[in-house]
Amino acid sequence: MNDMTPTREQRTAALEGMGCKRKRVEDIRFTQGKGNYVDDVKLPGMLHGDFVRSPHAHARVKAIKTEEALKVPGVLAVITAETLKTVNLAWMPTLAGDVQMVLADGKVLFQNQEVAFVVATDRYAADDGINKVEVEYEPLPPLVDPFKAMDHNAPVLREDLAGKTTGAHGPRKHHNHIFEWTVGDKDLTDAAFRRAEVTIKEMISYHRTHPSPLETCQCVCSFDKVKGELTIWGTFQAPHVIRTVVSLIAKLPEQKIHVIAPDIGGGFGNKVGAYPGYICAAVASIVTGKPVKWVEDRIENLTATSFARDYHMTTEIAATKEGKVTGLRVHVLADHGAFDACADPSKWPAGFFNIVTGSYDFPTAHLTVDGVYTNKAPGGVAYRCSFRVTEAAYCIERAMDILAQKLGMDPAELRLKNFIKPEQFPYHSALGWEYDSGDYHTAMRKMMETTDYAALRKEQADKRAAFKRGETREIMGLGVSFFTEIVGAGPSKNCDILGIAMFDSCEIRMHPTGAGIARMGTKSQGQGHETTWAQIIATEIGIPADNIMVEEGNTDTAPYGLGTYGSRSTPVAGAAIAMAARKIKAKAQMIAAYKLEVHEDDLEFDIDGFRVKGLPEKFMSMKDICWAAYNSVPPGMEPGLEAVSYYDPPNMTYPFGAYLCVMDIDVDTGVYKVRRFYALDDCGTRINPMIIEGQVHGGLTEAFAIAMGQEIRYDDTGNVVTGSFMDFFMPTMVETPHWETDFTVTPSPHHPIGAKGVGESPNVGGVPAFSNAVNDAFSFLGSTHIQMPHDFWRNWKAAKTLGAVA
């Protein structure tokens, strides 16, 4: 060795593998405006399609007159449900086992529902055409309040389901009922409540909101009549699933469908489902023989393509006087809108809401969810969370605070008293999950020490006293939140989408010069997969991350995968990447043994190559092994160095975290100020701390938006009143608080690299932290629960209701 020989640290650093704050490879193109998003796709002769939409929430469609529209210069076609019926596509199946109108068939069921699709030479001409389509409506009584959906005299929304007493998830109790889903032991839970020394009961609502990524949903469909092939560029979080769905419903051979998800401008769950725009653009391309682009505008995005939440959760906890929880009972009324288009694994009509026991050792629990139809947009997507997990986390974290208030205990102390203990993992929850790993007490105590929680409580007590003395008009709230997520859907034993098990995949091909390409079934929408996936491979096989090109989003080249949502990419595809890399490494070891003339058991992997045990100078680098794979493999071995892995996870992963929000509220104006926000996340092994921190910042900002004002609200007649960024709260840099991040590391025992996923934790844990801060601030004035979102007006109203404002 001489002075120029790199040290072990230098060799490790050169890989830019796991644990390193590698700068993102994506940023080179994005910072120069050279990304390639769907609306950037331009094809020769491309047409534009746009929708005529319903102004009514509920109405019969008596007639659609298209003659005048077809006279508009540039308009080539107007597609209606009647057109679609000729190809049997007037309705489409939803991921939740329901059916949904692609275009209004006889009636409309929500405002801005798609009624007709105008195809024109450019987007301006399409808009001219829309203005000339005449639709005759007969308004019907709208059903807006989900609590009235199952009244005996409630209007019939879904006439297509007349007489159907069974839906995709069992019996239907009423013409507007979709499903009832029950989990847990009712008798044991009822008994726990009968014996309980203390109980609480509260109806906790999680309002309707929307993921609203900055890029809306869009696609370009191009049908080649000669080859019979359909190519779709689209904003798809799950491109392979889209290919299969299109094949099944359009009856096209799957090998003749090419789905390409190019760069995606944010997803947050909005881009998982299949929307009428995709179907109409595809049909329009088949009809016209030309490529057709569909780009929704922001109002369409907010009002028609999906929503999130709208869960109304009647929550009860039974406990001892000392604050030990003994039972949990939750009934959810779930407003699904006009069609059940929830993007959940097929067997889970309420997603994984049965994670609602949270981080606590509930001996028994019982959960019932009733889904109902209303005259609102369909959807129910997982907006930056695993399926219905943020609803569950909000429910239990709010309820624990309410219990603490009733017991006169500190909310943090109550949580510490009821946490699942480290030695209880793997832990079997009362509602059926097996939590993989956790150390909740350490995380909570670290949060309390770092923020000096005790001092903050003291300050709050002083401020409350001062408020009562009339010395201040400001109140202070501490929002504690301790969440456990369930992500990484999921094991084939209980997770599928339309019958396809929710595995994920990776293919790695190493090239002779020590470089390679890796392809996955996932699709980044900003998570930075091109950067982090290469880091996993770099550490596993000892090739610098810079030498690995990551490609996602092309169904012709990538192995089949279920896509990116529900924080599943790292738990599932991340595992597939590690397993594919290990196959590469195993073959590389055989090649190295042959070249170094030793038995492969005599070799050990050492950062970036294989070394003969006990003979440090006998070493072969992975780079050299790559070359050898193409010219001198052992006799009988196939040349080349590539591998494919499909990973069916044995279990979900369970990230967790401890958050604290410190908030001051002026009672006379309702204006709040987030003084401090601390977020400790445990996502197991950390692949790229820079990206994790970025994910946490972003998720917290979305949580802040949701908790403090972001809402899709309807008036009594079913008009959306928050249909643009003027009314739908999107925090700017000015409102957004400063974020403090921290972490502990409790690896997942069943994941090849111990990683759990993080992208959604901050949204799941953040919403209860903000809401608990507001509720904690007002609690000393006599309130138990104030519904979200906590905007200035509602805060002022709460202060007034509680008598703090004259």
Partner: protein
């Protein structure tokens, strides 16, 4: 619809085109000039993804008609790299400080930040947050965008970039 002839200087090059009076500047830039770095996020002047620099002002090109920009000088994100093709201080700052994720708001952020630093070469965090408040981001939570702009300001001022305490 009758078309109007417009000429502009975009990223240093003279360009011209025929547009309808109602054609939005962003569509002229994206469709006629094929400069697709400028994005459309809301069509209502809220999100700022379409921000360009027009005659020394930050302008949201989704609510300006192309005919209004006739005779003007425009810079888009495609005109921001250094003359040798390397990343400018701002572009580098966004990358180094992880100031972007999906990249959709980034061109507008960079264009607005570019003008902000012309107006105020040494902005405080408060100045940045106020000056950038017309640009929305759904991914980053803004904190790293603030750091990216501070990084660029330091580099342009030839002073050492000091990260604000967490």
């Amino acid at each position: 619809m009758a078309k109007t002839h417009v000429t502009m200087k975009v990223n240093g090059a003279e360009v011209e085109g025929l547009v309808e009076p109602r054609t939005l500047l962003v569509h002229f830039i994206r469709e006629n000039l094929q400069l697709t770095g400028t994005h459309v996020g809301c069509e209502t002047t809220h999100c700022g993804a379409c921000t360009v620099d027009l005659d020394g002002m930050s302008v949201k090109s989704c609510t300006v008609f192309a005919v209004q920009a006739d005779g003007s000088e425009i810079t888009t994100v495609e005109g921001m790299a250094n003359p040798d093709g390397s990343l400018s201080a701002l572009q580098e700052g966004f990358r180094m400080m992880h100031g972007l994720q999906c990249g959709f708001c980034t061109p507008g952020m960079i264009m607005r930040a570019h003008r902000l630093l012309q107006e105020n070469p040494s902005p405080s965090e408060q100045d940045i947050r106020m000056g950038m408040s017309g640009n929305l981001c759904r991914c980053t939570g803004y904190q790293n965008i603030v750091r990216a702009i501070q990084y660029a300001a330091a580099k342009l001022n030839n002073v050492e970039f000091k990260e604000a305490a967490e």
